[in-house]
């Protein structure tokens, strides 16, 4: 066997590709489902928390800051295991899929809140004053004047953070969620070959390259000529 053949045998064995691609494909579907759900709820919750924080009520802000710091500090795997193995003891039974979605949403929300918040405070105070002096409410000022400027600044860090958090869907493998990584590792132990893992790797690249492209498209969309 030549070196190339040995490499192909270990990582890209054609018959294993043929055998396991349906499994990987179903993994892709599950990963996409969780990722989309996490992005929607995580970003929405993060944005909502940042907007609530802008009202500067001490009562609301203390819990927000505690939540954000906690979920930014905690490794997602720890949170996933605690929720997955802890909740049944409280008589609450939720699926691994739901646990993964819930925890990753909270993690993304925590990071997104920080990013949205720093975007909001980076908008000059004069923008608030101009809008409020024409009679706009706090909410109207936020939605029409502040967020359009803040979000534009937030898009690059948000894209990066969103990708980083959604990649953690691979952690679903430890709680039996049938996402890409789980399919890949099961197939690997069945076949005793790394080919399914390579297939998983390719699947991740195929999923996340368009997300990166989408991020830069949004960045361009939000661009406007600045003073």
């Amino acid at each position: 066997m030549t070196g190339l053949e040995r490499f192909q045998d270990a990582f890209l064995k054609p018959e294993l590709i043929a055998r396991y691609w349906p499994d990987i494909l179903s993994g892709i579907a599950v990963t996409l489902e969780i990722a989309v759900a996490v992005v929607i709820t995580g970003l929405a919750l993060g944005l909502a928390l940042a907007v609530i924080r802008s009202y500067r009520s001490r009562l609301a802000n203390a819990p927000i800051i505690v939540f954000v710091d906690m979920f930014r500090a905690l490794p997602p795997l720890v949170a996933i295991l605690i929720v997955y193995f802890g909740l049944p003891n409280l008589g609450i039974n939720i699926s691994g899929f739901a646990v993964l979605w819930l925890v990753l949403s909270l993690v993304l929300a925590a990071f997104a809140e920080e990013i949205f918040w720093s975007g909001i405070v980076s908008v000059r105070k004069g923008q608030w004053e101009a809008a409020r002096s024409t009679g706009l409410t706090h909410w109207q000022t936020m939605t029409s004047v502040i967020l359009p400027q803040a979000i534009r600044i937030c898009v690059p860090p948000l894209t990066n953070r969103t990708i980083a958090v959604t990649k953690n869907t691979a952690l679903g493998t430890v709680i039996g969620v049938g996402e890409i990584m789980n399919q890949g590792t099961s197939a690997m132990s069945l076949s005793g070959n790394a080919t399914p893992l390579m297939m998983a790797a390719v699947a991740y690249v195929v999923i996340f390259v368009p997300v990166v492209a989408l991020g830069s498209w949004i960045e361009r969309r939000f661009a406007w000529k600045r003073a």
Partner: protein, 244 residues
Amino acid sequence: MSALLDVRGLRKSFGTTEILRGIDFSVAARELVFIIGPSGSGKSTMLRCCNRLEEPTAGQVVVDGVDLMAPGTDINAMRRQIGMVFQAFNLYPHMTALGNVTLALRKVLGKSREEAEAIGLAALDRVGLKEKAPSYPSELSGGQQQRVAIARALALEPKIMLFDEPTSALDPELVGAVLGVMRDLKAAGMTMVVVSHEMRFARDAADRIVFMADGEILEQGTPAEIFGDPQHPRTRDFVGELSR
């Protein structure tokens, strides 16, 4: 003549430092009142208390008979009747000139897009910038930006307009057009309170000059009185400094 703006016993502290130490003053309809005084004397703070952009620590601010500090007062409804123009223009950079002028018309007054745009174009026309309606702030000179900012306030048909150093951020050659717009407003009967260092404008456009120092009004009078025959030693120093 009843006062359009009436400020009574206005006090404002930041932390433990008292910045405004009991201000009483009123502005009649159609009057143009100029506020002068050394830097840090509290001119901006006083002006910003007049629409509660700054929350007074004590005192009363009454605009057209409505007490702004009263618990039942809808401050947002009052603010649209009190136009404010800032030193830094504060145009919304993500909106065109017309977008800047129509935002409050649509959001606060609930006008339709067509209606708001008609009013907005008329307001831009009043400041001589109708043709700049589709331009973004970054495409306008400082003087043009400030005139758009004036149009933004004007579009809401305010009863009174507050100007905080409207020309201080402008290159000298751009000041004239902004002052020209303010003269037109005065001629059209707008009530105005202006904090500014444009003394020549003060001399020939103001009905009254108010001199502030250390959070208090030390003296007020006609331009002739304040510039020609100031009574208070601090006013004399300040006016003397200016004319040198």
